[in-house]
C-alpha cells in the first residue's frame, strides 16, 4: 500500500496502479478516454491531465497524464488545479472540432462517454469556426454500424479489436487529423467479439446495428440483470426492452465471469425473443389439425399426464423448469434431454467436478494461466468468451517480462512492445485449424482417435503412472514431449476439454493430463470442462445417470410409458430421427413446452408456450458449476408462461418459492436459494425499479389504444418492479441492471459500483458454485489400445460454429446473416481422391442431410470435420466413419461465404 495526496486529501492506494485508476477507485471524477479498465494506458487522448507536485515545497507543479503516472507512495496531485482543468477543457475543445454534434440522432446519445466527459470538463462554448473534416463510413456487417465522423481518435477500438481480441481486419489508417478506424475495405468484421466495440467506443462511431434499427435511449429501456443463455459460460448481461420488444443486450459486469466483454452470439442472438414465429398460445392437436386451446382446458390436460408419464428435460431450460418437471413426474421418470454420448461425457464432467484434484476455473482464473492445453474443443465456437480469456492468458509471458524489466503492467503499449510475439505456451489438439491457432505455440491436427493417443502420451510424459499411448503416431512424439515440458514448467497450467468434441475418450485422456500435472502439487490443477449449453450442468445435476435420453426413448418404445412431457427441447436434435420417430409413434399423448415451433412440437398433442430468458426469472448453472440468477426484464406479450408455472401445482406461484423448494429437496442444489436477493436489506414495500428515473412516455405509450392511464403491470414474482419508482441503485446496488451514476451515463459508470477498478461489485455477487469438491479422486484412465474407429470412409470429427450451433440464437435475424450452411471439411488429398471440389454438395452416408465441401489445407488426410448447420444434418445419425457422395444440381441455402477459417484451400476454388 502507498499513500497519495489528491487535492490535499490522503488516500491509501496500490502503487502498482496508475494515478487515473486509483483516482477512479477512490470514487473521484477524472475524465478519460483512451484508458480502459482492462486494457490499461497508452496516453493518447491527454484527457486525464492533473497537476503533480514534486514535494511539499513545490507550488508550481507540472501537468502530467494521470493514466501514465504511477501512483507512487507520496505522490501529490491536484485534479482541481486551474491549469489542469484548463488542459482538460482544451482537450475536449479539440475533440469537438470535428465531432458532428449529432447527439439527438445518435444511438449513443444519453449513454455517451464523450457527452459525460464534455460536461465534466466544463467545455461548453465553441470557438472553432472552420470546416469540419468528414469521413466516409463503411459497411461492417450485420452487427456493427460505422459513423466515423463522430470519432475522437482515442484508439480504443483498434486496441480492443486487434490487441485484446486478436482481430486482424480493423486498423488505424492514415494520419494527422485524418486518422481513420476501419477495415481495409468494406465488409463483415471477422472477429467473434466485434460487438464489444459498441461498448469500448466512447462515442457513437461503432454502434449496435441491431439496436440502431429501432433504437431508443438508454433511460427509456426497461432492464434487469440477466444471464446469457447462448452457451455454457453464463456471461452476465443487461437486456433492454421498450414497447414490448427486446431491443438489445449489453454487457453486465461480473468480476469472475465475463468482466467487461461478451461474444457476438450473446450480444446479437436475442432477436428470436421478438420473433413472429414464437409459440404464442396453448395448442391442441385435433384430428391432425392444430387448434388453439382455451385456457380453461389446460388444467384438465395437465391432469391427464399422470400415471405412466415420463418427462424429458433440457439443457437450454432453466433449473426451475427442469426441477418443476422432475417434481411433477418423479425423479425416476425424469430424463436428460441430451444426446446419449453427451450424457455420458456429462457424467464424467460431473465426477471430475467433484474430484478434489481439480479446480474448474472461472474466466478471471483462466486469464491467470501461463501454459494451456486445449483438447478437442473449438473454444471460439463453443464457449467464445473463454477464447477471449485465453487471448489474455497467453500474455502472462509478456506480463512476466514486463515485471522483470520494471515496466508497470498498466503501461499497455510498453508491455506489448517489450514482449512482441513472446507468449505463454498454448497447445491445441484439434481435428481442424481453429481460430486460436494464431496464438498457439503448438497446434496438432489429427482425427479424434489420434488426438486421444497424443493426449495419453502427454499425460504419460508428465507422470509415468499415467498409461502411455498405445498407438502414438511417430510424428506426434516430439509434440508430446514439448507440450508436456511446457505444462510441467508452468506456474499455473490449464487443461481445457469438454463435451462438444463428442469424445469421451478425449475427456478421459485430458483428465489424465490434469491429474498428472496435479501430482506433486499442493493445489488443485485448473481443469476447465466446457459444456455447450446454458444449463447443461444444471440438467446433469438433476437427471439420474441411468436416465439418458436413449433410456427414455427405449422405455417408450417398449411400451413402458405412454405419456411424455418434453420441456424446451427438440428431440430431433438430440437423437437419430428414426429412433425419435419410433418412440413418439408409440405415445398415447405428448405434451411439449417450448418457445418456438420445432420438429418435436410438430408431433405434439399439446403445446404450451413458454417464456424466453428475458421474460422470466430463472437460474442456470454454467460450465464451472456456477449457478446464476437471471431476472425477468419484461413481460411476455403473449400467454406464454415460464415452464415451471405451467407444471407446478397451484400452491407454488412464486419462482422464489420454487427455488427454495428445490434447495430444500435436493442437497446438490442446496446453495441455489443463496442466489435470491436478501429481501430484508430493502426497505419494506420498496422494490427495485426496472425503469430508470428518467424513463419517459409511461403514460403516453399506450395512448393510441386508450387515453386512460392504465395501472402499471405488477410484478408479484420478484423484488423488481415494472416501474420507475423504488430503491435507487445508488442507495442499494444488490440488484444492478443498468449502471448509472450522476455525471456518468455511459457504461463507464460501472467503476462507481466496483469495490475498486476491476474489482467485485460492491453489493452484487458473482454467483454460487454449486458443486463441492468432496467426491473421490478418480484414477488414471487406461489408454485405448488403438485407433477406435476403423473401416472405410473418413474418420468423423464434429465442428461447431458460433453463429448457428446454438438453436435459439440461430433464429435471430442478425445471426442468420453470419451463419454458414452445413459443411464437411476435407484435406486436399482426400478431396482429390474423391473428385470433390470446393463448394461441391455431398450427402453423408447414413444421413439425409447434405453438406458443402470445404477443402482445408491443414486437415489431416483421412478425417472429415462435419459442421451440421442449423440441424441440416443430424449428427446422431452419423457413423464414426463417414463416406461422402457427390450430389449434383443441389444449391445450398447458405454457401461457405460466411465461413471464416485461416486455411481454406484456394487453388481449386
Amino acid at each position: 500500500m502507498a499513500k497519495i495526496l489528491v487535492d490535499g486529501v490522503e488516500y491509501d492506494v496500490d502503487p502498482e496502479n496508475n494515478l487515473l485508476q486509483e483516482c477512479l477507485s477512490q470514487g473521484l471524477d477524472l475524465p478519460y478516454f483512451c484508458w480502459h479498465p482492462c486494457m490499461g494506458s497508452v496516453g493518447a487522448c491527454r484527457q486525464c491531465a492533473v497537476k503533480q507536485y514534486r514535494d511539499e515545497e513545490d507550488e508550481k507543479g507540472m501537468i502530467v497524464m494521470a493514466c501514465m503516472t504511477p501512483a507512487a507512495d507520496g505522490s501529490r496531485i491536484s485534479i482541481t488545479d486551474a491549469q489542469a482543468r484548463l488542459m482538460r477543457e482544451q482537450v475536449i475543445e479539440s475533440l469537438m472540432i470535428n465531432h458532428p454534434h449529432d447527439c439527438p440522432v445518435c444511438e449513443e446519445g444519453g449513454e455517451c462517454h464523450l457527452q459525460d466527459m464534455t460536461v465534466m470538463s466544463g467545455h461548453n462554448y465553441r470557438r472553432y469556426d472552420k470546416k469540419k473534416r468528414t469521413h466516409q463510413n463503411q459497411y461492417l456487417g450485420p452487427f456493427i454500424n460505422h459513423e466515423m465522423n463522430r470519432c475522437i481518435a482515442c484508439y480504443r477500438c483498434v486496441r480492443y479489436y486487434d490487441d485484446y481480441a486478436g482481430g486482424t481486419d480493423l486498423s488505424a489508417q492514415a494520419s494527422h487529423h485524418h486518422v481513420y478506424f476501419g477495415r481495409y475495405e468494406e465488409g463483415v468484421l471477422e472477429s467473434e467479439f466485434s460487438g464489444n466495440l459498441v461498448e469500448v467506443c466512447p462515442t457513437g462511431v461503432f454502434t449496435d446495428r441491431v439496436f440502431s434499427a429501432h433504437y431508443t435511449r438508454k433511460w427509456d429501456l426497461q432492464s434487469a440483470p440477466s444471464v446469457c443463455t447462448g452457451c455454457g459460460v453464463g456471461c452476465n448481461t443487461t437486456p433492454g426492452e421498450r414497447y414490448g420488444t427486446l431491443r438489445r443486450i449489453v454487457n453486465r459486469y461480473n468480476s469472475d465471469v465475463n468482466g467487461y466483454f461478451l461474444c457476438d452470439r450473446g450480444r446479437f442472438g436475442f432477436e428470436y425473443v421478438n420473433s413472429g414465429e414464437r409459440l404464442s398460445e396453448p395448442q391442441v392437436r385435433v384430428k391432425g389439425q392444430t387448434e388453439a386451446m382455451a385456457p380453461e382446458h389446460i388444467p384438465s390436460v395437465l391432469q391427464q399426464f399422470t400415471g405412466d408419464v415420463i418427462g424429458i428435460g433440457s439443457p437450454r431450460a432453466s433449473n426451475e423448469g427442469n426441477f418443476a418437471l422432475q417434481h411433477l413426474v418423479g425423479e425416476e421418470n425424469f430424463y436428460a434431454g441430451v444426446a446419449d454420448g453427451e450424457h455420458a461425457i456429462n457424467q464424467l464432467i460431473l465426477q471430475l467436478a467433484r474430484d478434489p484434484a481439480f479446480h474448474n476455473p472461472s474466466i478471471r482464473e483462466i486469464e491467470q494461466a501461463d501454459a494451456i492445453i486445449i483438447l478437442g474443443e473449438d473454444v471460439t465456437n463453443v464457449a467464445p468468451r473463454v477464447a477471449l480469456a485465453l487471448r489474455q492468458s497467453v500474455r502472462n509471458e509478456a506480463r512476466a517480462l514486463a515485471e522483470k524489466n520494471k515496466i508497470p503492467q498498466w503501461h499497455d503499449a510498453a508491455v506489448r512492445e517489450l514482449a512482441q510475439h513472446d507468449r505463454s505456451p498454448l497447445s491445441i489438439l484439434s481435428s481442424y485449424a481453429t481460430r486460436l491457432d494464431d496464438i498457439a505455440e503448438d497446434s496438432v491436427i489429427d482425427g479424434p482417435a489420434g488426438l486421444v493417443q497424443l493426449a495419453h502420451a502427454i499425460a504419460h510424459r508428465l507422470n509415468d503412472e499415467a498409461a502411455d499411448a498405445e498407438a502414438l503416431e511417430p510424428a506426434h512424439s516430439d509434440a508430446a514431449g514439448k507440450i508436456a515440458a511446457q505444462l510441467k514448467g508452468a506456474r499455473r497450467p490449464l487443461v481445457i476439454a469438454g463435451s462438444a468434441s463428442g469424445s469421451l475418450e478425449l475427456l478421459q485422456a485430458a483428465s489424465n493430463i490434469a491429474r498428472a500435472l496435479q501430482s506433486g502439487r499442493d493445489t488443485p490443477v485448473d481443469f476447465c470442462t466446457l459444456v455447450p449449453e446454458a444449463n447443461t450442468l444444471g440438467l446433469t445435476l438433476l437427471a439420474r445417470e441411468e436416465n439418458s435420453l436413449g433410456a427414455a426413448l427405449e422405455r417408450i418404445a417398449a411400451g413402458k410409458a405412454s405419456k411424455l412431457i418434453v420441456l424446451e427441447n427438440d428431440l430431433y436434435r438430440r437423437a437419430a430421427p428414426a429412433q425419435v420417430d419410433a418412440a413418439l409413434g408409440k405415445l398415447e399423448s405428448l405434451l411439449v413446452l417450448d418457445l418456438m415451433p420445432t420438429a418435436t412440437t410438430e408431433k405434439a398433442d399439446y403445446v404450451l408456450p413458454v417464456t424466453a430468458f428475458s421474460e422470466q426469472e430463472s437460474t442456470t448453472v454454467n460450465y464451472e458449476g456456477r449457478a446464476q440468477l437471471s431476472f425477468q426484464v419484461h413481460q411476455s406479450a403473449s400467454t406464454a408462461r415460464p415452464a415451471w408455472l405451467w407444471l407446478t401445482p397451484d400452491n407454488i406461484s412464486r419462482v422464489d418459492d420454487l427455488i427454495e423448494l428445490c434447495s430444500a429437496q435436493l442437497a446438490r442444489f442446496g446453495k441455489l436459494d443463496d442466489l435470491l436477493p436478501d429481501v430484508s436489506q430493502f426497505v419494506s414495500g420498496m422494490k427495485v425499479p426496472r425503469q430508470s428515473h428518467r424513463y419517459s412516455g409511461r403514460t403516453a405509450m399506450r395512448a393510441n389504444i386508450n387515453v386512460h392511464e392504465g395501472r402499471q403491470p405488477q410484478d408479484d414474482q420478484s423484488l423488481l418492479a415494472f416501474s420507475m419508482e423504488g430503491v435507487s441503485p445508488l442507495k442499494n446496488a444488490a440488484i444492478l441492471g443498468q449502471a448509472w451514476a450522476p455525471g456518468w451515463n455511459s457504461n463507464q459508470s460501472i467503476s462507481k459500483f466496483q469495490e475498486e477498478v476491476n474489482g467485485e461489485l460492491k453489493q452484487g455477487h458473482t454467483g454460487e458454485l454449486l458443486i463441492a469438491r468432496d467426491g473421490e479422486r478418480l484414477s488414471y484412465f487406461p489408454a485405448p489400445t488403438a485407433k477406435s474407429a476403423s473401416g472405410d470412409g473418413l474418420e468423423l470429427a464434429l465442428a461447431h460454429q458460433i453463429f448457428g450451433s446454438d438453436e435459439l440464437s440461430a433464429r435471430s435475424e442478425a445471426i442468420q446473416q453470419r451463419m454458414t450452411g452445413a459443411y464437411v471439411s476435407l484435406a486436399p488429398s482426400d478431396a482429390e481422391r474423391l473428385s470433390l471440389k470446393q463448394g461441391d454438395r455431398v450427402s453423408l452416408d447414413g444421413n439425409g442431410g447434405l453438406a458443402t465441401v470445404c477443402i482445408r489445407k491443414k486437415m489431416k488426410p483421412g478425417t472429415a470435420a462435419v459442421y451440421c448447420g442449423d440441424n441440416e444434418i443430424n449428427p446422431h445419425a452419423l457413423e464414426a466413419r463417414v463416406s461422402l457422395s457427390k450430389v449434383d444440381g443441389e444449391s445450398p441455402v447458405r454457401a461457405l461465404d460466411g465461413l471464416i477459417v485461416s486455411d481454406l484451400y484456394e487453388e481449386a476454388y
Partner: protein, 426 residues
Amino acid sequence: MVDKPLTKNIDLARGPMDIAGYEAADGYQSLRAIAAGLSPDDVLQRVKDSGLKGRGGAGFPTGLKWSFVPRGDDAPKQKYLVVNADEMEPGTFKDRLLMEGDPHLLIEGMIIAAYTIGASVGYIFLRGEYVASERALNKAIAEAKEKGYLGRNILDSGYDLEIILHTSAGRYICGEETALLNALEGKRATPRAKPPFPQVSGLWGKPTIVNNVETLCNLPGILNYGVEWYHGLTRGKDHGTKLFGASGRVKSPGCWELPLGTPIREILEDKAGGMCDGYQLKAFLPGGASTDFMLPEHLDIPFDYDDVAKVGSRLATGTMIVLDDRTCPVGMIGNMMTFFAHESCGFCTPCRDGLPWVDAIFRELEAGKGKEKDLQILHDHVEYMGPGRTFCALAPGATAPLGSGLKHFAEDFARHIKERACPYRH
C-alpha cells in the same frame, strides 16, 4: 592536426572516397584498435570523456545514453544499433552531406557504437528521398563487407556486425526515435511512451541505441586522435566540431563544419556571406523549424548548446533558417504550421487536432480573414501543445516558432488582421 574530422574527406565534386581512399586517410583505424583488444568499456569511457552530445537535436550526452543499455548475463543477448538518418527537419541538410560525402565515416562510427553496446545488428533508417545517400551507403557497406569490416568475426576480434539499410516510406515523425522503431518494425509510425527508453526496450523489444548520423561520425575521430585532441577542437563549452548550416536569403547558403561555440555572426557573415543585397536580417531559427526564433541582437553569442538555451532557443540541428525583413513572418510560421499539422501522426489529441486549427487560422490570416480572437486561440495553443502536454516532442517543437513568433512579430500579426491582408504582399 585534423581540425575538421567530420568533413575532412568530403569533396562533393569528386564524390565519396572508396574504401581504399578512406583507409589512406586514417579510416578504419579504430577497428584495428578493437581487434588489438580495446574493450567496449574502454570505448564507452572514451566517449564519455569526450563529452560528445547527440547531434540529432536533443543534445543528450552520447556516452551516458549508451551506459543505460543493460549489461551482464541477465541482460538480453540481442541488442540493436539504429542510425537515425531520417533527416526531415525543415532547413536541415547536414546528415545528407555526411552520407553523400563520406559514407565510410558513418559505417566506422556504427561499428564503434555497435561494438560498445554489444549490438550485432545495426540498422540505418534513411530518409526515402535521400537516394544519393542510399547509393553511397550501399556501396560503402558492400566494400566494408568485402574487406571483412562487417559480417562475422570482424578482423578476428570475435565480434559480429551486420548493417541493414532501410529506406523510409517517409514521415517526419519517423525522425522521433521511438516512432522510427515502430516504423522499422512495420507498425504505424507513432511514438512510444518513455519510459521505458529504447535502451531498455527498443527495436523488437530489445535494448536499442538510436543515434544520429552526425553523432556517430564523431566517433572515429575520438578513437583515432584521442579525447584531448577532441577537447581541443571547440571554441566554446561543448566539445567537438559541428555541422552548421544556413538557408534563406543569405548570399551563399550551405553547410560547414566548425568548432562548437563559433559565434553565430561568423557563420552568417563569413560562411554564408551575409544577407543578400537589399535584405536585412529580421530573425532566424537556429536549428531547424522546431526551435524558437532568435533575433539579430543574439548574433554574437557562441553557437553551442548552453548559450543558445540561455536565450530561450535550442541549438538543435544547428542549421539556421534565416528570416529577412521582406518575407512575411506570419507566412513563414504558417508554412511551418502546415508542415507540422500534416506531419502529426494523429496519436495524441493536442497535436492531432490543435495543429490543424492553428494552421487554418494562419491560412485565414494570410487571406486577410483573420480575427482578433484568433490571436488568443494561437496563444492558447502554445501552452496547450507545449512540453509535457503532448505525447512526444512534435507539437512542442511546433510551438517553438509559433510562441516565439507571436512574441517577436506581434505587430505583423496585428497588421494582418487590421489591414485584412498580408502587409508584405504588394
